[in-house]
């Protein structure tokens, strides 16, 4: 296997991008990544998109997006693993470069979610859950994470205040991210006064509906050196699945796919979780960040909420989580999220995170955790400054 580096990153300002199409959003981000890397060609491209079919009626995205990027005949692969599609695109590109099949590969992600009504978006997102045994009975995505929250509160005494701490922290971080959809700060009172979606989760516990794309360029260490780019090396990659129906799992207060994917990535990197300086994790709901930080082994089971309240996961904390603002503030265009997490880790490792959210003690190793559905799939990646 060849060593692989990320040498270019690009994304656009996320939000409700009424004036832009799926293809324009993707090409904007891809061009930004190509320009940042300074490469003069691509050998291949992978694109994560959860459901262009349901959101804009468009599949066959690999070819469409390669064409609009100006690369006719490029090998282009669209991959899907629900909300982890972006992370899977990144892993697919990593494997392709590491294997020697291609030298310069673009890994991108895109989702155009506002061309359908709220109900249409709810339907499209719910396809990541078990259609016949969850969605049929009236379960929604906030509902499934609410079931996890209720179980977590029952087992560990996790509180409303702990959920709120995650939202407040991520909006604070996101207020310094020029690409974030909702770069406003919020307070515990605002979170706890917001409308109930699926008890105990309120609207301010939920990540938003977002249009957006993200792209990164992967290549070999040799080519990266020739280009004179800061070298951010991919030292670990882990991928695991679980039953997509929450009720089919033994324990609903932990995410086994995340634990297994992290173990694989750490083993590959030859590191333990204590060696990781910070992480971007999949906070599609506030409870998700708490459960994920426990499932990754950053905090003991049942201690993730307390850690958030104590500021352990803040910019100055012992283990900063979601310095970008996370899905909560930055937005969650599902197929793009996993790639955007990599972008934040690269920026932090380069020391170029904008507007004061750069970690003061310059990190050396960062992690991403990107999750599909209610945890039916997880991608974990570990990146290190070479």
């Amino acid at each position: 296997m060849r060593d692989v580096a990320v040498i270019g990153v690009g994304m656009n300002k996320w939000g409700e991008l009424w004036e832009k199409s799926l293809r324009d959003i993707f090409v904007e981000a891809a061009l930004a990544a190509i320009d940042d890397a300074g490469v003069d060609h691509l050998d291949s491209m992978t694109v994560g998109c959860m459901t262009g079919g349901l959101f804009v009626g468009q599949e066959h995205l690999g070819s469409l997006l390669a064409d609009y990027l100006g690369y006719k005949n490029l090998p282009a692969t669209r991959v899907e693993s629900a909300c982890a599609s972006g992370g899977l695109a990144f892993r697919t590109a990593f494997i392709e470069v590491a294997s020697g099949m291609s030298d310069i590969v673009l890994a991108g992600g895109v989702e155009k979610m506002t061309d359908v009504s709220g109900d249409g978006a709810t339907y499209a997102l719910a396809t990541a859950a078990d259609q016949e045994y969850e969605v049929f009975h009236g379960a929604t995505f906030p509902g499934l994470y609410a079931l996890m929250a209720t179980a977590h509160m029952q087992k560990y005494g996790t509180t409303r205040e702990m959920l709120s701490a995650v939202a407040v922290k991520n909006h604070f971080n996101g207020s310094m991210n020029p690409f974030a959809q909702y770069p406003f700060k919020t307070t515990r009172e605002e979170v706890e006064g917001s409308v109930m979606v699926a008890s105990p989760l309120r609207i301010m516990d939920c990540s938003p509906i977002t249009d957006g794309a993200a792209a990164v360029i992967l290549t070999t260490i040799d080519i990266a050196k020739k280009l004179g780019k800061p070298i951010i090396k991919i030292i670990g990659s882990g991928h695991a699945t679980d039953s997509i129906a929450l009720h089919s799992r033994d324990d609903m207060t932990t995410l086994l796919s995340t634990t297994v994917a992290a173990e694989k990535a750490l083993k590959m990197a030859g590191k333990s979780i204590k060696d990781i300086n910070f992480a971007e994790v999949h906070d599609c709901f506030t409870i998700a960040e708490i459960v994920v930080t426990e499932s990754l082994g950053i905090f003991a089971p049942g201690k993730g909420g307390e850690a958030a309240v104590k500021g352990e996961t803040g910019l100055e904390g012992s283990f900063p989580i979601n310095t970008s603002g996370g899905l909560k503030s930055k937005g969650h265009p599902v197929g793009a999220t996993g790639v955007a997490q990599v972008i934040e880790v690269v920026k932090q490792l380069r020391g170029t995170a904008e507007n004061g959210r750069q970690l003061k003690k310059r990190p050396k190793i960062g992690m991403t955790q990107n999750m599909g559905g209610s945890g039916g799939s997880t991608l974990v990646h570990i990146l290190e400054v070479a």
Binding site: D119, A151, Q154, A198, S248, M252
Partner: protein, 131 residues
Amino acid sequence: MFPARSHREYPHRYRLEAGKCKKCGKIVFPHRLICPVCGHREFEKVTLPDTGKLVTFSVIRVAPSQFVDQAPYAIGIAELTNGVKLLAQITDCDVDKLAVGTEIRIEFRRVQTDGHQGVLSYGYKFVPKWY
């Protein structure tokens, strides 16, 4: 919803039919072709018990279109007396009185309607025993 899609789920939704692995005894609901525990491929047909207790629940206030007329409604995951867990709506109850551990029984109900002229879909729902 296309009728065939609904029809093929009738054994599970109407009669709570599950599969019991002939080798290790694992009960799977809905049926599967291979046992997730031991890999055996033969199952005997069994019927799930119709009682259990809630292991978690949530009250849905922002509902999908097929369920808007029912909101707010509760969903939950119940562990049945044989250890099988399944998700369903919790009906006929004051949702504010639900708690983890609430004992439920399974009843056969209309679950959703697919628009004004679509298929009426029936299946199982949970009813708290105190009702």
